[in-house]
Structures are given as C-alpha cells and as structure tokens.
C-alpha cells in the first residue's frame, strides 16, 4: 500500500491500482458513521466516502481545496449529523476550530454527541439564515462551507461570508439545484448560482458532482 498526500491530513491510500480517500483520524479508534478505518505505519486513516460527502466527491473529481489547512477556523453551515464535519475536524486538527451550525433539533443531538468526542467542533443550534444574532460568540473564520437545502442558499452564503469570512479566506458552497428550483434544468440553476457568486467572490472552480451526487455541484470561491 502506498500513501500520497493531498492536503493537510488528507491522503490517498493506493492499493492494487485502486485508490481510497482518507483522513488522519483525530480520535483514535473511533469510527463516526460506520466508515472503514485503515491502520498503516502506526497511524489511523478514516475512509472518506464520496457518495456521502460532497467535499470528498470534489477531491475525487480532481480538485485540491487549498484553503483547508491544519489549524484554521471553519464555519460550517448545515452540519447535519456531522459526516463531512468529522473529516473537516480531522483536517484542521487540534489547533483548529470548526463552528457547526445546524437548525434541526433531532439531528443536532448527534452533532452534539460528536462534539463531545472531538474538542475542535463547536456546535451551534441555530438558523444559518439569522446567524448574525450569534455575532458575539462567533469569530471571523478562514474557511466557510455551506451545505443547506434552502431556496436562498446562495444569498445566505454571501450574507454569512460578509459577516464571518476573513479577507483572503476561502469558501465552498454545495449547490443543490433541486432545492433552488425544481422546474428549471439543474445546469441552468448552477450557472445562475455561479454568476451570482462571481459578483462577490473570485470563483476558483465549479465542479459537477455527478456520478457521486446527482444534480449537485460544489463551487469553490476566494474572498
């Protein structure tokens, strides 16, 4: 087996021609959502499944999210049960901070239980569209990630970037075409979102996530 570094704490594990994306496990011996764990050279690697995480799918499609480094602070909108979040927590490591915003109380329970195990996750049970109310406890972050199923998800992303993203910071938005507009063709919806974002940010890359996720795209931006 060979190991190849992608970005901080993210590695390809190559075996007989196939490759698996993994992150270095922050909490030894714990699998968060039932993913496989590989032990190589005394270190633990957790598999990052592209069909469950849009960020992983983007890396599988050949993009390196350079903004994600060890020790940065991340604002994650729409954390859900913390599948992608657990890998981001792996990447940023002990020094980093991941502020995870989630509105639903039922899903929030799992998020809090995850945060109790991983000290770099800071859960906030609140509406991502009204996050400016929490301005007193939040800080400006280096990386903003949004994965919410809202019609106005691009607007919410821009608003939160204005409030909580550092100058020169990076962002990624998972565009859910079917949540924004059911009737228009997904490609058109994604293109519209790209144009709207390009007024405010410089676009780094737009990636269609097919075949890992249908009608989804991820757009990486720089502030």
């Amino acid at each position: 087996m060979e190991i190849e570094k992608v970005i901080d704490n993210v590695y390809w594990i190559k075996n007989n021609g196939s490759r698996i994306l993994t992150t270095l496990n922050f909490k030894q011996g714990v699998s968060v959502y039932g993913e496989r764990i590989f032990r190589l050279n005394g270190r633990e690697y957790r598999e990052w499944i592209p069909s469950r995480s849009k960020l992983a799918a983007a890396i599988y499609k050949g993009f390196k999210p350079v903004g994600l480094r060890e020790g940065i602070s991340v604002l994650y909108l729409g954390a859900s049960t913390g599948t992608t979040l657990s890998h981001i927590s792996d990447i940023i490591g002990r020094e980093g901070k991941a502020f995870a915003v989630e509105i639903s109380e039922e899903i929030g329970v799992r998020l809090i239980l995850l945060a109790e195990n991983r000290k770099n996750i800071y859960p906030i049970i609140y509406d991502a569209a009204k996050l400016e109310d929490k301005g007193s406890i939040l800080q400006r972050c280096d990386f903003l990630y949004e994965d919410i199923a809202q019609k106005d998800q691009v607007g919410i992303f821009i608003k939160n970037a204005n409030n909580f993203l550092k100058r020169g910071g990076y962002g990624a938005i998972a565009v859910k075409a079917r949540s924004i507009d059911v009737l228009s063709p997904p490609k058109e919806v994604i293109e519209r979102a790209r144009q709207e974002l390009s007024k405010r940010f410089s676009i780094m890359k737009l990636i269609d996530l097919y075949p890992f996720q249908k009608d989804h795209a991820i757009i990486f931006v720089k502030n």
Partner: protein, 248 residues
C-alpha cells in the same frame, strides 16, 4: 479555548425546542404507523386462514367480522357449524400447531389494538389539558392531527379557517382539473360524518370556522369559551340543516 460552553448552550437550545406539540406529533405518528402495522399483520394472518379454510375465509373478508368470529372457534368443525359453510374444505389440512399460529397472530392484533386505544386516550388527555376549547369543539384526535400537520399549535392559530378546513388534503390539493377538496382532517368530526353527502362541505366549513375560533382562544386569550363556541356551532349547523328541511 474549549468547546464546552458551546456544547452547554447547544444542549439548552435543543431542550428548549421540545414542546407538548412535539410529543403530540410523535404520538400521532405512532398511532398511524401502528395502525399500518396492524393492517399488514391482519392481511398476513387472513391469508394463512384462507389457506386453511377458504370457504369460510370468503365469508369473513371484513376485518372486524373476522376477528370477532375467529376469536372463539378455530377448528373447521366449529366454524362450519357457526357459519354454515361446508364441512368438506378445499383448503390445505393444517394440523394443531399451525392453527396455533393463526391464534397467536390474532392475539397480536388485539394487543396492537389495545396499544392504539391507550395512545389515543393519552392524546385526548394531553389535548384536554393543554387546549380545552379545541378539545370541546374539535375533539382530541382531530386537534392532534391538525397540530401534527401544521407543526405546532402556534402556527395553527395563525391559519385562516379555510385552510384548517382542508388541512390534510395536501396530496389531492394540486391535481390539475380537479376542484379544491371540501374537507381534510375535519372529515372525521362527528357532525360532518352524520351529515348528508350534499351538506358535508357546508358543515365542514362551519366546523372549521368554530374550530379556528377555539384554537385561537386556546393560544391567545386562554379563556374558557367552550360553551359559547359550542352553542354557536350548534346554531349554525341547525341553520344549515333547517334550511334544507324548509326547501323540501
């Protein structure tokens, strides 16, 4: 910096979000799913009985009747005496232990019914305690179903009565070329049920109107206006029924 403060704050936020409406919603869901399970179980048990004694099975297609009759006698001889079906059966000759399976299935169905009844009583108690006016006008189960569709009583109180009248018809609401439904969850109300078919829509409108009054009273003023609203409801229903008699 530790994330402990955030965890404490988030835990408090989650705990504050649960209300009695959440409990009601969950209980209604439990009733719905349990009744679905009961139907599935009944179908399977009925099919097994049909294999054993198809002649009697055809006569006992109705659920209530099947449970009532098979509870006491399970042997072919007993059933044939009771129902007058032929003693020589086309069915597969099941032996004692397999007949026991049918019996056990029936016992399970009656257990599920007891569960549903007890949950429904609990929902009634909850509604009566928290929303007494709505309980008097709309009864417990209908109010609970309305809450589970609307999300919470607060949201229900913000709705107009026409919306409450058709709440629960979301699936048929937007079919092209079809008229707007006359009633949704309100249909289960005993005044609507007992009315003639051509008057059901009008009665549903009146029930929804008075129900809306009761819901708003429960949320905003929290006074006890049961009798006033009920007498208003009866007056308007009588007017509709009376008009019809006058015309004939």
């Amino acid at each position: 910096m530790d994330n402990r403060d955030f965890i404490i704050e988030a835990k408090r936020a989650i705990k504050d979000k649960w209300t009695v409406d959440t409990l009601i919603k969950r209980l209604v869901e439990l009733v719905d799913q349990t009744s679905k399970a009961e139907n599935i179980l009944f179908k399977a048990v009925y099919d097994l009985f049909f294999l054993y004694y198809p002649e009697a099975g055809i006569k006992l297609e109705e659920k209530e009747r099947f449970i009532e009759e098979i509870k006491n006698y399970i042997d072919r001889d007993d059933i044939s005496k009771h129902l007058g079906s032929p003693k020589e059966s086309m069915g597969y000759d099941l032996t004692g232990t397999y007949i026991e399976v049918i019996k056990d299935g029936l016992k399970e169905i009656s257990d599920i019914r007891l569960l549903i009844n007890s949950i429904e009583n609990k929902i009634d108690d909850l509604i009566n305690k928290n929303y007494p006016n709505s309980y008097a006008v709309l009864t417990g189960m209908i109010t609970a179903r309305l809450i589970s569709i609307a999300g919470s009583m607060q949201e229900l109180a913000m709705m107009p009565s026409s919306k409450i009248q058709i709440l629960g018809t979301e699936s048929t609401m937007f079919i092209k070329g079809r008229r707007t439904p006359k009633y949704g969850v309100i249909f289960k109300h005993k005044l609507v049920q007992s009315a003639d078919d051509n008057l059901k829509g009008k009665i549903a409108k009146v029930v929804a109107s008075c129900g809306t009054l009761a819901i708003k009273t429960d949320i905003f003023s929290k006074e006890d206006k049961k009798d006033a609203i009920l007498s208003e409801l009866n007056r308007r229903v009588d007017k509709i029924l009376g008009n019809r008699k006058g015309h004939r």
